[in-house]
């Protein structure tokens, strides 16, 4: 099935009207460049395709109770989110170049930008970036541009997945990327301050950090500013329902992964990178920005604005190469946040924290199981220190029906027995109890 509109009859008619044959339409391509054949399957009907894909979907073990996190979470998504984002006027449109017929998308992005500012307590935001990792990379690039410096400090309590991404992106650039090693699950303040110098463009930290620990970076912002550097904070938007905001800490650029705001996990994407910054830096931001203005009759409307920063105008001088972003995911985050509302987001955040703290208590009541760090304050994730190899134990727990958590050895030396467990508002007391029992059984 090919979704082609015109019948053979019509194709013939059109060809004859323009005086060409179907082959003639391709006479501009050198003959030898026309492929002889493609080794691809024949087409299928919708029925067959749905059967095949249902079979593939069935091979993915979503039946496991999920305690995986690491920056990507199994949150509850209200049905109304899907109903709204499933409106085809939203998802079959493209970048709103023509504002008169794109007010739906444009106003939604403006509202999304406002949402991100309100969540983070920052002043400006863009229309979205690909994901939390590239958002952090863009923030770093932006800090380099703003400061004209080339050194970046990053603590290893920042999501290691993002850290490897940043390393990858900077391989061909002359940037001094220096990592510090966390202190008992929190940033290594001493090391960071030691490394902070006049060539430092930014310090990159995360809250709650990869271990789930909660911090206040006000001191780091002050220290950075004193040296003319910026503070970049990567954050988890659901946590902002209750946690101190990067804005309140004095952060200069805030980024994060918006998946938790109503996007399904979908095996890694599409997700949503968000970014917010201070008013002064708006022209240094990457990505699209929507602004509010008026038409001749004085009616309020929304347009893409400050496009002079962008690739289609500035080409190699642009602030970023981004063009298509994650507009529909931004809409989703906006819809999700609007449905939950002020109270709902706060409650959700509180539930996550409550359930995680219950879970930690429950797990550490098992003999030999401890909290890896001494920190008291964490959000919805924590690191367990097990009496044996965490990867092995997590493997055994799969058979008991649990994706029990993320073994940290992959990214952290000396943490072979550490398991990162995430708890969202969807996990019930009963499920937590069952995980604890299963863990006890496999130890």
């Amino acid at each position: 099935m090919s979704f082609i509109a015109n019948t053979q009859e019509q194709q013939k008619k059109m060809l004859s009207e323009i005086g060409l044959s179907m082959d003639g339409l391709f006479s501009d391509i050198p003959k030898e460049l026309i492929a002889k054949k493609f080794n691809l399957p024949s087409g299928m009907s919708e029925f067959e395709v749905r059967n095949r894909l249902a079979e593939l979907a069935g091979k993915n073990h979503i039946d496991l109770t999920c305690f995986l996190g690491g920056g990507f979470y199994d949150h509850f998504i209200p049905a109304a989110v899907y109903a709204i984002t499933g409106r085809s006027e939203f998802y079959t449109a493209y970048t709103p170049y023509q504002p008169e017929i794109s007010q739906g998308t444009l106003q939604a992005i403006f509202e999304y930008q406002s949402l991100i500012c309100r969540l983070t307590e920052m002043q400006t935001s863009n229309a979205s970036l690909y994901d939390g990792g590239t958002a952090l990379y863009e923030a770093m690039m932006m800090a380099l541009r703003i400061t004209g410096r080339n050194k970046i400090l990053i603590d290893d309590s920042v999501n290691p997945i993002y850290r490897v991404m940043i390393h990858s992106y900077t391989k061909n650039l002359s940037i001094a990327l220096e990592e510090t090693k966390n202190e008992q699950g929190l940033i290594n303040r001493k090391a960071l301050l030691e490394k902070l110098d006049d060539n430092t463009a930014a310090i990159i930290v995360q809250n709650p950090n990869f271990f789930g620990c909660v911090d206040d970076f006000t001191d780091m912002a002050e220290a950075a500013h004193k040296k003319g550097a910026l503070l970049i904070v990567s954050c988890y938007p659901i946590s902002l329902g209750i946690l101190k905001t990067p804005g309140a800490m004095g952060a200069d650029i805030v980024t994060g992964e918006g998946q938790s705001l109503g996007l399904p996990m979908s095996f890694g994407g599409p997700y949503l990178g968000f970014m917010a910054t201070k008013k002064d830096y708006v022209r240094k931001m990457p990505g699209r920005i929507v602004g509010r203005t008026k038409d001749k009759q004085g009616r309020t409307g929304f347009v893409l604005t400050l496009q002079a920063r962008e690739q289609h105008i500035r080409r190699d001088k642009a602030t970023s190469n981004i063009c298509s972003n994650e507009a529909l995911c931004a809409l989703t985050a906006l819809v999700y946040s609007s449905l939950l509302g002020k109270e709902g987001l706060k409650q959700t955040a509180q539930l996550c924290a409550d359930k995680a703290s219950y879970a930690l208590q429950r797990m550490t009541s098992i003999k030999g199981v401890k909290s890896r760090f001494e920190v008291k304050w964490f959000f919805n994730e924590f690191v367990l220190e097990l009496p044996a190899n965490a990867a092995e134990i997590a493997g055994k727990l799969i058979e008991k029906g649990f994706a029990a958590g993320f073994p940290l050895s992959r990214y952290y030396q000396g943490m072979e027995n550490s398991l990162l467990i995430a708890v969202t508002e969807k996990r019930t007391k009963q499920q937590i109890g069952m995980l604890a029992e299963a863990l006890e059984a496999v130890l």
Partner: protein
């Protein structure tokens, strides 16, 4: 229409979160908490539904209007793909699952989608391996250039420049630049093709590679494409294919056969995944054999026992450019599309996309200046220069189309054509639709002649008229705080 925050009513409840079944055992200390609640709107579910339903009705989309936005391939997005992407077996799959012990076995269905897509895209482009990680076309470009850089680093080549034609999409120079290269712009010749003589002059030992789309952004196939690639290869440069225009050759010809070494595809164009009002898309990158080792971590490989696994041990790889496996749910939609169409279907796509574009071109060339008269591929580019005589610009034609129920073509790109109007009908549009569009364009050409002021006033039937973009850029108002 009010923005959603203006509709908020203190104390109003929306969706209720799950009920708590645990005691609060530890309270996070006050210093770590936000001082006042996030100012999210307080609305009922109906309020929110009505707000966004109304917003949606202020958009044109492919499902509501003909949308011949050049360079964007606004074809029909099959509903079945949306349905399949929502299957819980895909939608609820945590991306870290494969990183558990034997975790690959927990996600064989998802890995099969990635594995098959790798093969399908290789076959369609003539490449030897693909990464699914890039999350859009531009992201694919950056990935491709990073691979280019890794290749040169690996060989010890000292390369500093990337050549890009002046007709290129803005993402091309931007991507090359942020990857650390200097960009040199290659001029087009009178036929709208790359000026090969100029190219020859510009190429030297510093040349890391060339970025090109073919057909180019004028919709014209670069007849010297093989020669162009050879010129680049002669200095050990790499040829990068911007696959945003693959719809013009899909199922018919392969960039690999032209001589390209690196290809990115826009799944949200050729492979019919929805554009989402500006994303998400997916921009997989394919490379020829000698570059496979540089592809990002991880890749899906087939083990001897037929099961699939993720390969992380790739020492020459450029690393991670996305947290996981790319925009999986988009890749999945494209997979569904390829399965449905198959070999013959994709070829028919290409043929009909090209037929529709040429049909429009031929029917309109009497009324609008056609800067490069020849067979086009999936799109055709006109200029509003004729209309300029009466002060009518491409943008005025666009607004006239809006008034008459059409999404306008791309205007003012490519920049090498003055007042350009870039029309890409796509193969899912019917002759009837094209005929009405053509009639309307002809009508507009006449109005431009006879009543230009009328066109200047358009559109009047939309929720807002032409907006003051200058004011927007001046009085920056980009968030309601």
């Amino acid at each position: 229409m009010k923005i959603i925050f203006e509709k908020s009513v203190e104390g109003r409840k929306g969706v209720m979160p799950p009920m708590s079944d645990v005691p609060t055992t530890i309270h996070i200390k006050k210093e770590f908490l936000r001082s006042s609640d996030a100012k999210l709107p307080e609305l009922s579910e109906l309020d929110v539904v009505r707000h966004f339903t109304e917003l949606s009705r202020r958009n044109f989309g492919v499902d509501t209007n003909f949308y011949p936005l050049g360079s964007c391939t606004m074809k029909y997005n099959p509903k079945v793909a949306e349905r399949i992407a929502a299957y819980p077996g895909f939608a609820h799959l945590h991306p870290l699952m494969p990183q558990l012990r034997m975790g690959g076995m927990l996600t064989q269905g998802a890995l099969e989608v990635l594995y098959d897509m790798d093969n399908f895209l290789c076959e369609l482009t003539g490449m030897a391996g693909f990464t699914m990680q890039p999350m859009a076309g531009a992201h694919g470009e950056l990935t491709g250039i990073m691979i280019m850089a890794a290749y040169h680093r690996d060989k010890g080549n000292k390369k500093t420049t990337v050549l890009i034609p002046d007709s290129a999409h803005g993402t091309n120079p931007a991507s090359a630049a942020i990857a650390g290269y200097k960009v040199l712009s290659v001029p087009s010749d009178k036929q709208g093709m790359m000026d090969v003589n100029e190219l020859r002059k510009m190429v030297n030992s510093e040349t890391a590679g060339l970025m090109l789309t073919c057909p180019n952004t004028l919709g014209i196939f670069e007849k010297n494409i093989k020669e162009i690639c050879e010129i680049i290869h002669s200095v050990d440069g790499l040829c990068y294919y911007d696959g945003a225009n693959l719809n013009a050759i899909v199922g018919k010809a392969r960039p690999g056969d032209f001589g390209f070494d690196i290809v990115h595809l826009n799944l949200h164009k050729t492979f019919a995944t929805p554009h989402g009002g500006g994303g998400p898309g997916a921009g997989p990158v394919g490379v020829i054999q000698k570059l496979v080792d540089f592809l990002p971590v991880s890749l899906v490989v087939k083990r001897n026992d037929g099961t699939l696994a993720l390969e992380y041990d790739r020492p020459k790889s450029i690393g991670y450019i996305a947290p996981f496996y790319g925009n999986f749910a988009i890749i999945l939609r494209a997979y569904v599309y390829i399965l449905m169409l198959g070999r013959e279907g994709l070829k028919a796509v290409c043929e009909n996309a090209v037929l529709n574009a040429n049909y429009v071109k031929e029917k309109l060339k009497k009324y609008y200046e056609l800067p490069f008269e020849q067979i086009c591929k999936h799109e055709c580019v006109f200029s509003a220069e004729k209309q300029m005589a009466k002060g009518i610009h491409a943008i005025d034609i666009a607004k006239g189309l809006i008034e008459r129920g059409f999404h306008p073509p791309t205007v003012y790109f490519p920049t090498i054509v003055k007042e350009s109007i870039m029309i890409e009908p796509t193969e899912t549009e019917s002759k009837e639709t094209l005929d009405t569009f053509i009639e309307t364009m002809i009508e507009l050409a006449k109005i431009a002649e006879s009543e230009p002021e009328k066109l200047k006033a358009a559109p009047t039937s939309t929720p807002v008229g032409r907006l003051d973009e200058t004011a927007a850029a001046k009085n920056i108002d980009i968030a309601e705080l």
